[in-house]
Amino acid sequence: MTAATPEARGMGFPPAADFKGTARVTLPRVLRSEWTKLTSLRSTVWTLLAAIVVTIGFGLIVCAATVADFHHNGNASDLNDPVGTSLVGGYFSQIAIGVLGVLLITGEYSTGMIRTSLGAVPRRLPVLFGKAIVFGVTSYALSLGAILVAFFSGQAILHQVHGGVAIGDPSVVRALLGGAFFVMTIGLLGLALGTLIRSTGGSIAALLGLIFVVPIVTSFLPGRWGDIQKFIPNNAGGALVTIDDRGNDLLSPLGGLVVLLVWLAVGLGAAAFTLTRRDA
């Protein structure tokens, strides 16, 4: 080690003019910084791994249980939705990814890191969008990978009773891509809620409310008001992944995608609005 103590250098810092000419904040550089932040926290890495494990694990368990049940009861209705059966783990990973989205920003507020982040990027929006892009791409890629593994291994299990489907079957690719998109959307809505609310507890409560409570409340709405149900994130996501379209009350897959995009635009837009206006 070079013992370059400040004393040895007369307490001053050596000039570092060589990078000064090229230094400036750009979005690609903020993306690199956010990638470093995402991958340098143990909690983040573990949560991402957990999301992958539950996506694959629960899919395998439910597929195996379905096959066992079929051998036992010969109940063919269990095999109606083989894609959905193999992707059931997505319901659990959306929670992990959603909470991680919250923590990505509330972790900075609770530790004070946000002041360093916004001090380095005083325009602020690149910080939010940098997080959204890095986390969105990462969670989409990991979710899609996990979903593909869950799909192929799940269908292999279901094939034992001739109940599986192939990836080339109608709408299957759409459902797989859509499932990953839905998980990513929940993650980014978590990021948006975290930015709006800033406290970890409050933001997670709001996120879980959106995932679990809002569907219950909207299901009680009478008559035509009940149509609102179609537009909540869960059901818009459901429209994206459901292959069995008999008698369900969902939007079309394209409609579901558009609704999720609107949720993202509104959520991140509100987050951007407050982030640039509030004191940090």
Partner: protein, 317 residues
């Protein structure tokens, strides 16, 4: 160069910073002094765009902080509380900060070595002591080799060695021609570190002067005299600009004359003197005196009347 013009910040009906106007010049350490709650941290947060002024502005080198394309290369900042994610290592923290504006990894290693944290660079910041946290903050501030430094209470909670380290560092940085703006609520610390002083209380500017001048104005000359003919001596000394206070049967406090002047006057008048003690009001007392109307939170009890001869005991700086 940091310039505040009519800087004001209100939170609801509470005014944290009230119409501050001052300039911080390069080349010397400028102390930003005031009791807790005087608005120092708020002012510094406004300087780097974290808080938005209600009125007025604070600019650095003629620009608003947010308009710098690479702010870290212009202004280095150390905020009072640790502004670091505790789960991240020191190295990754600095790397993430450096990456936002294309500061190379080599510079991260360099600042870590310079603050003496190389050996613990891979350890999580959550396990750092207060002193290590402050060193990391200094490393972060120096990442971009900035010409302006804004440091909020950098010696807070440090051990004597750490305090000396920061004091010497700040003076060296100022000597290199940088603008160094340091806040503290400790007058004695500022007296040792700073050359220029901006003193605030309750968000208002109280003084904008050199440390030397501030101390001279605040303390004045006070001489404690004991004489069997105290009353006569009192009459002898009385003249314009001199205040004589009788503090006991045979004791006087003389304000406005040096000990030598008092002794000569007593000799000329043939008055015996048993004791002649020059006393300087301590810096902390001077500071308290000047900011006493501007302290936001006082203790429940009415403060005891200040007796200079009592407060100066053993507290001479």
């Amino acid at each position: 160069m940091i310039e505040a013009r009519g800087l004001t910040k209100r939170y609801g009906s509470k005014t944290a910073v009230d119409d501050l106007t001052f300039t911080v010049r390069p080349g010397v350490v400028t102390g930003f002094l005031g009791p807790n709650g005087a608005g120092k941290s708020t002012t510094m947060r406004m300087a780097i765009g974290l808080d938005r002024p209600t009125k007025g502005a604070i600019n650095i080198g003629g620009k608003a902080y947010r308009d710098f394309p690479a702010p870290l290369t212009e202004v280095g900042v150390l905020l009072e509380a640790k502004a670091v994610h505790t789960g991240r290592s020191a190295y990754k923290h600095l790397l993430a900060v450096a990456q936002t504006q294309g500061i190379p990894r080599r510079r991260v290693d360099e600042v870590l070595a310079l603050v003496g944290l190389t050996d613990v660079a891979g350890k999580r910041v959550g396990g750092f002591s207060l002193g290590m946290g402050q060193r990391l903050g200094i490393a972060s501030a120096m990442l971009g080799d900035p010409g302006v430094l804004i440091l909020d209470e950098p010696v807070n909670g440090l051990d004597p060695e750490g305090i000396r380290w920061i004091r010497t560092l700040l003076q060296a940085l100022a000597a290199e021609g940088r603008t160094v703006f340091v806040s503290s609520h400790l007058m004695s610390e500022m007296a040792l570190t700073a050359t220029h002083l901006i003193v605030v209380g309750r968000g208002r500017l109280i003084a904008n002067t050199t440390v030397e001048e501030f101390i001279r104005q605040a303390s004045g000359d006070l001489v404690h005299v004991r004489s069997p003919q105290a009353a006569r001596l009192s009459e002898t000394l009385a003249r314009d600009g001199v205040t004589v206070t009788t503090t006991g049967l045979d004791t006087l406090d003389v304000n406005g004359l040096t000990a030598q002047q008092v002794g000569e006057a007593a000799f000329a008048a043939g008055i015996p003197v048993f004791e002649l003690t020059p006393r300087q009001v301590s810096l902390e007392d001077a500071f308290m005196d000047i900011t006493k109307d501007a302290v936001e939170y006082t203790h429940g009890q009415t403060p005891a009347p200040r007796v200079p001869s009592a407060t100066s005991t053993g507290a001479n700086a």
